[in-house]
Amino acid sequence: MISLGRISKRSEPYVLAAIILLSLLIQARSGQFFSGNNLVDLARSLIVPALFSVGCMMVIVSGGIDVSFPAIASLAMYVTDKILLASNYSGNVILAYAISAGLGLLMGALNGFLIGFLRLPTLVVTLGTSSLYTGLMFGAFSASASDVPPAIARHGKEILFTATNPTMGLTSNMPSQILILIAVLILAFLLLRYTMLGRGIYAIGGDETAAERAGFNVRGIKMFLYCFVGVLAGITGIARISMMTYADPSTMLGMEMTVIAAVVLGGTRVTGGMGSLTGTILGVALMTILSNSLILIGIPTYWTRVFTGAVIIIGTGVTAHQTIATRRRRAQSQKAAA
């Protein structure tokens, strides 16, 4: 049923084309892009931003915006880390994920309450809670970089396979955390596509009043959504520190803007209602490849920011231009049809 015309209106193909072009450029400049170990390295770097982007995309689809997820992830993982260290816990890492997810849930619930029940503007609320959570982490918990408990350290050493670059003999390990990403993606896909809850998220983003009248529990869905983002952030926090076997409370802060940029780059409509997991992952992949290949391309460190800035501007510019073009085309075809 999907026609070619419909596909050309989506932004996924454009992002994919951009990724391919960029890959070819990197390959040409370094001869290193399509080596097994480079791809594994990229996949590894993708895990954390991709985990964040799933929740971020869902929030944008619902018509909101969330800038608090890095703060939630940091505080949740930090408190978890400290609890486990203090209790000399040496069991399974699942407990770490559970605690962190639980803390994320609580923090997300505050967002959800303020946004869903009090109907406060999402950007302002999450800016506020973000400030609150980071402040708590550094103030009340006087957080600083710390060791990780053995459970997390062991988890960090679990690797799925090792990719070797045949020409140079370099090896890269695929961390097991990629499984978490895959699981989250599958879960999010099922949630968004096959549950009323997921369709409700799209419905709210399309028209909130209509959603309410149709019988969607708008408050409940928003509550769920921000809780979900919180849980996801908590999990991401543990994934991050286990991959580094080192708990640095500030390592994730400031990621919100790049993640949002990646999500929008992937075709999610800033005003809500539209967005796909495929597009989101492509957007994140593009940003990840970009930020992890500046040396491979051979851009001097001093000029990397200029390059990233230019790519954000050009990338979003193309997407913006393309949606406007689509809108125009649609208006004209409607006129023609009438």
């Binding site: 710390s146 580094m244 500030s250 992890n292 040396i295 001097p300």
Partner: protein, 344 residues
């Protein structure tokens, strides 16, 4: 119109000249405090408060306060930022502290505010800010140049004094990191003819992030197969790069060293990915800064060999040609043999 403009300029100039802020030379002996010791208030301003390094420094500050009974505390900006650090100092001056010890994010940016402090009779002690003009003394565990040289000597040792290397800084805007790296590169040029700096990427930045250090290192080793060594400055570079070396299977073929904390590097030192990292204990540095401030408040004259009562800081020497910069015994080299003896 023109005349009015001139008038305004003239008025501004009069006010401007009435405020002496710069290029004053102060005699430390004039900073002897008239207050009893129990009323002294000494603040130490770190670069930020979250870095493990400064958390450790605060241990020294608290220890000093306990040992001497003096009201000494650490108060840092919420983010590593020169402008915010200046604001904290502004507030401390307004509160009327007796001495400010500071680890500047950027010495140049603090000149005006520290000048203000000095003009109000507040003792100013710098640490890791050898280029600072507006301070009474700058105390260093070493000279910036010396540390850079030592990191290079360590790296050269690992690399067998030959091969391609590059430098890695916390941020390209970080002043002291750049100084160490510059000194190291200069030293290599003079002493190791077989070592070459990677021309395409002579200075890599890791955004003060362990994960970025790891990712940048991986990219470097992929793009430049003959890269053999990384001269790190930030304490996050050795664990990050070591992890990359280990994962890429380059153990024994590629090397890194930097300033580093024992705990962060323990694993890699023990498994041989890292051979050594350099350290001066920030706790002792914090303790020594306060001791220095107290000496001046007491009106003591500072001479070669003065004792700042912290391990490694017991016999300070003026840097060659300077009457301001005092250097201690230096840094400690941490290897797998002594890494367990620090307890932090």
């Amino acid at each position: 119109m023109k005349r009015r403009l001139l008038l305004v300029v003239a008025i501004v100039m009069i006010f401007a000249l009435a405020v002496p802020l710069f290029a004053q030379s102060y005699n430390p002996l004039n900073f002897k405090s008239k207050k009893p010791m129990s009323q002294w208030k000494i603040a130490l301003v770190p670069k930020d408060a979250t870095n493990a390094w400064f958390v450790r420094m605060e241990v020294g500050v608290k220890q000093f306060a306990k040992d001497t009974g003096i009201n000494a505390f650490q108060k840092g900006p919420p983010k590593t930022d020169a402008a915010m650090q200046a604001q904290v100092i502004e507030d401390l001056i307004a509160q009327g502290v007796d001495a400010i010890c500071v680890v500047p994010v950027d010495p140049a940016a603090l000149e005006p505010v520290l000048g203000l402090a000095l003009s109000k009779g507040i003792v100013v002690i710098d640490h890791e800010g050898a280029s600072q003009q507006n301070c009474l003394y700058d105390i260093e565990a070493f000279s910036n140049e010396g540390l850079g040289q030592t990191i290079m000597i360590e790296l050269a040792k690992m690399m067998g004094e030959k091969g391609v290397y590059t430098t890695m800084v916390g941020n390209v805007t970080n002043a002291s990191h750049n100084e160490w790296a510059d000194a190291g590169v200069a030293y290599a040029k003079a002493h190791y003819p077989n070592m070459t700096l990677l021309a395409a990427e002579p200075r890599v930045e890791i955004m003060d992030n362990l994960d970025t250090a790891y990712e940048r290192a991986k990219e470097l080793f992929k793009k430049y197969p003959n890269l053999k060594g990384i001269f790190g400055t930030s304490s996050l570079s050795s664990p990050g790069v070591a992890r990359a070396i280990e994962e890429l299977g380059l153990k024994g073929k590629a090397f890194v060293t930097s300033v580093g904390l024992p705990n962060e590097n323990k694993v890699y030192l023990k498994d041989g990915t890292l051979q050594s990292v350099l350290l001066w204990d920030p706790r002792d540095a914090g303790y020594a800064q306060l001791a220095m401030a107290v000496k001046i408040l007491k009106g003591e004259k500072i001479e070669n060999g003065c004792n700042l009562t912290a391990p490694g800081w017991t016999s300070m020497q003026f840097a060659p040609g300077s009457t301001k910069v005092l250097q201690g015994k230096g840094w400690i080299t941490i290897t797998k043999d002594n890494v367990d003896s620090f307890g932090f």
